[in-house]
Amino acid sequence: MNQLESLFDNVWIDALWRLLVVLALMVFVVLLLTWGERKVIGRIQMRLGPMRTGPYGILQPIADMIKILLKEDLRPATADRLAFELAPFLAFVPVFLTFVALPFTASWGVRVLSLGLLYFFAVSGLTALGYLIAGWASDNKYALLGAMRTAAQLISYEVPLILAVLALSMLAGSLNLVDIVERQGRVPFVVWQPLGFFIFLMCALSDVTRRPFDTAAAESELVGGPWIEFSSIRWSMLYALTEYAALFALATLGSLIFLGGWDWPLGRDWGWWWQVILIFTKTSLLLMVFLWANGTFARIRVDQLMSFCWKFLLPLGLVQVFLNGLILVYDWPDWTLLVTSGLALAAAGYALHAGLRVKEPLRTVSLRSDA
């Protein structure tokens, strides 16, 4: 036993096993998510989803994985070989690295970083580079358009996302994810920061390029975007693994910083298993929202995507930062946070809704029976 403990005292071995756990968790989550998405989307579309492989099609992701691995690994003759083969790693590794900073319970995480939040966004932003290189190296016009869109989109949406999170960390007074969760206590930050949560949700959807923000992949116009020329394990790394893992990472982050992580209103002395249940329930809730949006929304156009970010989300993020700063400086009571942020969100929602409809009547079709 002593030998074993001393083995883990070695920095490299300790790091290795923690990373292995994260890798296993990530692969497991991705497999579960692909299955879960197909089931949820299936229900939304009045289908059953996969049903043939195992009970309720639970083995479907494994079948998919085998199929993908057995496919031929194609590379276009005109592709830039080095960049083409590097791109999946550039997209995948940053997402993998974000897991390092995520605590899953009060005491279990790979590493508690005092600047965990900053690290998370700094690292996850690198994924854009992988997509850009993938699209550029493929020597394909669809991929190129998709890559340009991804790069523009991911970089733009980082800004309001970071503003929303910045406003939140002003309240928490820390960038350490564990501290932020501890700071929330029984009442999660989503109660005090509805506007910030809204911005976070929008940007998270955009960050993982899912509907309504999936202009990068855009099946109906670009037929898959940057990963159009990839096949086999490369496609899997570039698209499935990266996207679903990023989805899970963002949902976990959201549940940590906005939904109170492993805490809930009834106190926390329920044991570590309860913490695990709480955090995965909250994460699943956020994932459901993502899948729901994916199943029902149309895709917005690339220029609308950009103006939504710069003209709508960015000012809102600044408003949230400003409100929090005001309240913190003058030391107003907590409920003012909820009221101001809630009012700002309501006003923003109304503006968005009215902006589309006030100008012109929606229904311009009339009936003519005298023709």
């Binding site: 109906s220 116009e221 199943g295 029902t296 156009r301 003519r368």
Partner: protein
């Protein structure tokens, strides 16, 4: 040397600009947005479309020429294969052209059956449009599955009546090939009820959705005058504010007996085209219900139908209001059992001509929206 030196000091604005080139993006013939084997080459400057070159003909099977080598009744099947989403409407046009030239009287009951089936077919066709249009706008197949569930109810009725799901071949010069089942009226009434709910389902899912509106509003606008100049017809024309519907303008068959309205758009954009089609479905339901009320008993074919159909020499142009617009058959007979010439006036082909006019200046994603709003069927475009 002096010039270079001068330039180095005073950099003119043009030189500072990055050199950009327009690229050609090939969309199709194998592409999810093209609804078949249509191909368009978009010249894009960044994300903006500056030119569109459509290429058609990948599905040309020579239906017109083949018809010349077939007996009048045999040639009917080519009509199923032109607009394969509105088969009954095409069959109707063809048999009515034959009847007009041969002077065959069609029994009342057969007329009603034809009208009911044609209007049901309009419903299935517009369902198909709604589903495909939703997918073009980027909905993850949800509109599609909604539409296809509803479409299936109607498809089942067709299968029950004709024994086929796609190539019906049910109409005949003079009537229909056999009578409909006894429970026809109840079946169709039940289907109408379901369809009414189904249209509402789709409308609730997408019609008021902000993203859906933002994506299709003011996209691919074509004015009423332009629409007429380009020879557009059907929902494309009516969405531009021109209330022309052949069922009302020159009522063929028994359409003058029904009370129905013509939905007309005001702006002529993709969204109006969608709205017009959804409203048309409701009007079709009205026609079907009235027709079911009035449908008499009786024969479905004239009693004295010649065993071999020989048409007198002459020519005839018959046009009907298909789901996609005006479908015309121009038939030249020199006597005998085969057409001398059969020309099909394709509604999609003419509607597609305005593609460039509508698309240039919009974004790449809008090109897909606009193509979807034209609602092409390549079988009809290429014949």
């Amino acid at each position: 040397m002096a010039k270079r030196g001068k330039n180095r000091l005073m950099v003119v604005e043009e030189e500072r600009d990055l050199e950009t080139i327009d690229i050609n993006v090939n969309v199709g013939p194998q592409h999810p947005a093209t609804h078949g084997v249509f191909r368009m080459v978009l010249t894009v400057s960044g994300e903006k479309v500056v030119d569109v070159v459509p290429h058609i003909g990948y599905m040309h099977r020579g239906a017109e020429k083949l018809s010349e080598n077939a007996d009048y009744r045999q040639a009917l099947i080519f009509q199923d294969r032109t607009d394969y989403l509105a088969q009954f409407n095409c069959e109707m046009c063809y048999v009515m052209a034959l009847e007009k030239l041969a002077g065959i009287e069609v029994p009342e009951r057969a007329e009603y059956i034809r009208v009911i089936l044609s209007e049901l077919n309009r419903l299935t066709s517009h369902y198909m449009f709604a589903g495909a249009f939703g997918t073009d706008l980027g909905v993850y197949g949800t509109v599609y599955t909604y539409a296809f569930r509803e479409r299936e109810f109607i498809q089942e009725v067709f299968e029950e009546i004709t024994g086929d799901r796609m190539m019906y071949g049910y109409f005949r010069p003079g009537g229909v090939v056999w009578d409909v089942p006894d429970n026809f009226k109840e079946r169709v009434r039940a289907v109408c009820e379901k369809t009414r709910i189904g249209i509402n389902d789709i409308e609730r899912l997408v019609t008021g959705n902000e993203i859906f509106v933002a994506r299709s509003r003011d996209i691919g606008v074509i004015s009423g005058e332009d629409a007429i100049d380009y020879g557009l017809s059907g929902p494309m024309l009516r969405a531009s504010g021109v209330p022309v519907d052949l069922r009302r303008e020159e009522p063929y068959s028994i359409y003058d007996r029904f009370d129905f309205d013509i939905p007309v758009g005001e702006r002529g954009d993709s969204y109006d085209r969608y709205l017009v089609r959804m409203e048309e479905m409701r009007q079709s339901l009205r026609i079907i219900e009235q027709a079911l009320e009035q449908m008499p008993e009786g024969p479905i074919l004239p009693e004295k139908l010649p065993r071999r159909l020989r048409l007198p020499p002459g020519e005839v142009y018959m046009r009907t209001e298909n789901p996609r617009g005006e479908y015309g058959i121009y038939l030249v007979s020199k006597g005998g059992e085969k057409p001398y010439r059969l020309k099909i006036r394709s509604s999609c082909f003419c509607n597609l001509m305005a593609l460039k006019k509508m698309t240039v200046g919009h974004y790449v994603a809008d090109a897909v929206t606009i193509l979807g709003s034209v609602d092409i069927v390549l079988g009809e475009v290429d014949r």
